[in-house]
């Protein structure tokens, strides 16, 4: 056999190996894609009910008597704020179903409407005081059980004791439907309000803003500190020095520390020692920075290491000082890698809930945070809170919140990709 024949013989084997390897690769990609798709479809399907909400049309009589207010040309906001709006709704309901008389039935009737509807009416009146004394048709928010039923998620054929909605309420809903007084509408309040104990009033904006502020603090702290630390360790720190080695080992260990430990540390140091407000995005950002820093430092060091030494030599040979070499060449060339590492760290931080539980970001916060010092929660913690709530409508809200979290993540990644493309150098 000559060489050509030997090579030819092994060639077949080599190609077969290559083909097998390709098949493995394609197979694993298909499997992981299938999992991802399954997950996404599941979440999207589960979340759809959360994006619409049931409203009931009531003929509200904004009479002075029910509002307990005297007729006059002008009202102060305070006066309007204090009036009783719940009665407006009850009155309208009794009017709609005049044959309801027993106390028990009346209570069931009032339960059709969300407890938040009265505040909607209040806001309406404060915005337009001229409504007082008139009668208006208003679409008001239905209670979450009614909403769930109307969306077909409660079986009407179940025995009455087994469902959260009574037979008589079903007849009322049917009646409302025949009169076109009940409808589903896009749930705008999900995106514009904060958390609530009542699922039909609960929104994601509070957690979204909380996450945004927390991420901002994390980014502003961990990116510059991480990059500076990495540049020092890579470019300036003396080599073969024991305390530099100690720092290095510690940074690598820090990246592997369970995140809840950072939460305990944050509680002890930031909140108890330095008096950072509990539950605030500032505290959350400080804690998450501890987690993100090692990731950014390690990624930045790797990116700096991968800058070819010939580029440094070229710049040094032309008389650039060390810091000029770093700012003119090393950092720009390392920037794509630095951004990739930072975005991985930030994505981890965005999805982190354990350490934030320790610093009180799990508290129920109905108000939307307006800054870095307001009590707030974050998206993953909100998801955790909702998934733990008993009301059926929270299942959909949980999935909807996951979608919001994923979109947030996607936008962050998109930003990173755009920045990376901007900094990418063509060799």
């Amino acid at each position: 056999m000559n060489n050509t024949q030997i090579v030819q013989k092994s060639l077949k084997k080599r190609y077969a190996k290559e083909r097998r390897f390709k098949i493995y690769g394609v197979f694993s990609i298909i499997v992981s894609l299938a999992f991802l798709l399954f997950l996404l479809v599941d979440i999207v399907l589960k979340s759809t009910p959360a994006f619409t909400q049931t409203y009931i049309k009531l003929d509200i009589d904004f009479s002075y008597k029910v509002l307990n207010i005297d007729p006059k040309p002008n009202y102060t906001k305070d006066e309007l704020f204090k009036s009783s709006y719940r009665n407006l709704i009850s009155k309208a309901l009794y009017q709609l179903f005049p044959d309801v008389s027993s106390r028990k039935q009346k209570r069931a009737l009032r339960k059709l409407i969300s407890s938040g509807a009265q505040y909607h009416l209040r806001d309406l009146v404060i915005e337009r005081p001229q409504l007082i004394g008139t009668s208006q048709s208003v679409w008001v928010l239905a209670d979450d059980d009614i909403d769930t039923f109307f969306k077909g998620l409660i079986d009407r054929n179940l025995p009455e004791a087994d469902r959260r909605i009574k037979d008589i309420q079903i007849t009322w809903i049917d009646k409302l439907q025949s009169k076109d007084r009940i409808k589903r509408q896009f749930n705008a309040s999900f995106l514009t309000s904060g958390d609530s104990r009542e699922p039909e009033q609960a929104g994601i904006l509070g957690a979204l803003k909380g996450s945004l502020y927390t991420m901002l603090v994390t980014l502003l702290l961990s990116f510059p500190i991480g990059v500076a630390a990495a540049v020092y360790l890579e470019e300036f720190a003396p080599k073969n020095n024991w305390w530099i080695d100690v720092i290095e080992v510690n940074i690598n260990n820090l990246a592997a520390v369970p995140s809840i430990v950072f939460g305990i540390l944050g509680l002890a140091v930031y909140i108890n020692l330095f008096g950072v407000p509990r539950s605030a995005p500032l505290a959350g950002g400080l804690v998450l920075s501890l987690m993100t820093l090692p990731t950014i430092i390690i990624a930045t060091r790797a990116a700096i290491k991968s800058v070819p030494p010939s580029i440094r030599e070229a710049a040094l040979g032309l008389g650039a000082s060390k810091i000029q070499v770093i700012t003119h060449h090393v950092l720009p060339l390392a920037m794509p890698g630095i951004l990739t590492g930072s975005i991985i760290g930030m994505a981890q931080a965005l999805g982190e809930s354990a350490p934030l539980l320790m610093i009180g970001m799990v508290a129920f916060v109905a108000d939307i945070p307006q800054g870095f010092f307001d009590p707030s929660t974050v998206l993953p913690v909100q998801i955790y809170i909702w998934s733990d709530s008993p009301e059926r409508a929270f299942i959909a809200l949980t999935s909807a919140a996951i979608i919001v979290l994923l979109i947030f993540l996607f936008l962050m990644n998109l930003l990173a990709v755009l920045l990376r493309n901007k900094f990418e150098t063509k060799w």
């Binding site: 030599e313 070229a314 040094l316 040979g317 032309l318 008389g319 650039a320 060449h329 063509k426």
Partner: protein
């Protein structure tokens, strides 16, 4: 030590020829030793002068320490961890390793073209303009344009690149990249230019351009050039140094080295029996 080593050590001995030049040399190495770490010595007791407005060619087999010595002349070896240089190296009678001269300033005065072309991943224009911008050698943009054009012309690259100055320098061919690196170095107008095999990646025509350039530059600069081409060394250099295993074996006027070498190793090398 085995017999071969002893024999070699006897052969290498002291530098023969004429390491010193008449008058004040522009640069001068005296008893230079270079260690890459404790047990790896790359240069052994080398003394040699670089005369003003002359070209010194450094020849020798691969790995004999030519690049190492060249990199000592502008303290590029400072950037290598664990690299230690002992002995004295003077630029205009100033010891560049002990005196107050700043390595950054030194490298602006002693420019270097590296063995492997290493353009920045920036445009051709920015590559050449980098040094002048760094040192503020111009007062306005048109002056910078002039410097770029002049440098590229001298390096024989202007014609090929004048229409694509904004294209990345890394998109040029290997030989063009090396000429770009030469243009980048001369744009700073250094006093001494160190060239590490500047033409090893070039075709004969481009090589001729560079050799002409060196010849032209000689009138205002001092040049040290490492080369593997005997013909090139013979053509362009005024003096020639032959290195072997980290020792400077022989250094003398180029025509003497090539016509009448004193040392047997030198003769073997230039006649092609070694290396």
């Amino acid at each position: 030590m085995n017999n071969n080593d002893i024999e070699l050590n006897q052969q290498l001995g002291k530098t023969v020829g004429n390491p010193l030049v008449d008058g004040i040399p522009r640069m001068s190495c005296q008893s230079v030793d270079v260690f890459y770490n404790q047990d790896l010595q790359a240069i052994f007791n080398v003394s040699v002068d670089l005369a003003k407005n002359q070209i010194l060619a450094m020849i020798g087999p691969s790995g004999c320490g030519k690049s190492t010595l060249l990199r000592c002349l502008n303290r590029m070896n400072d950037t290598i961890d664990g690299c230690i240089v002992t002995g004295k190296i003077y630029l205009d009678n100033e010891d560049i390793y002990t005196s107050n001269i700043d390595p950054v300033l030194l490298r602006a005065k002693v420019g270097m073209v590296f063995q492997k072309p290493n353009p920045f991943p920036k445009s051709i224009y920015d590559n050449v303009a980098y040094g002048p911008r760094l040192h503020g050698l111009m007062t306005n943009n048109s002056e910078l344009d002039d410097i770029v054009e002049e440098s590229l012309t001298k390096a024989g690259l202007w014609k090929e690149t004048k229409d694509r100055l904004n294209k990345p320098g890394t998109g040029l061919s290997g030989g063009q990249q090396q000429r770009l690196c030469i243009a980048r170095t001369i744009a700073v107008k250094p006093e001494v230019i160190l060239m590490d095999e500047p033409t090893s990646a070039l075709d004969p025509i481009a090589t001729a351009t560079i050799e002409e350039l060196m010849y032209e530059l000689k009138s205002s600069y001092t040049i040290a050039v490492v080369t593997h081409s005997m013909q090139q060394a013979a053509r362009i250099s005024d003096r020639c140094a032959y290195f072997h295993l980290g020792r400077l074996v022989e250094v003398n006027d180029t025509n003497i080295v090539f016509t009448n070498p004193e040392h047997g190793l030198t003769e073997n090398y230039i006649t092609g029996r070694f290396g």
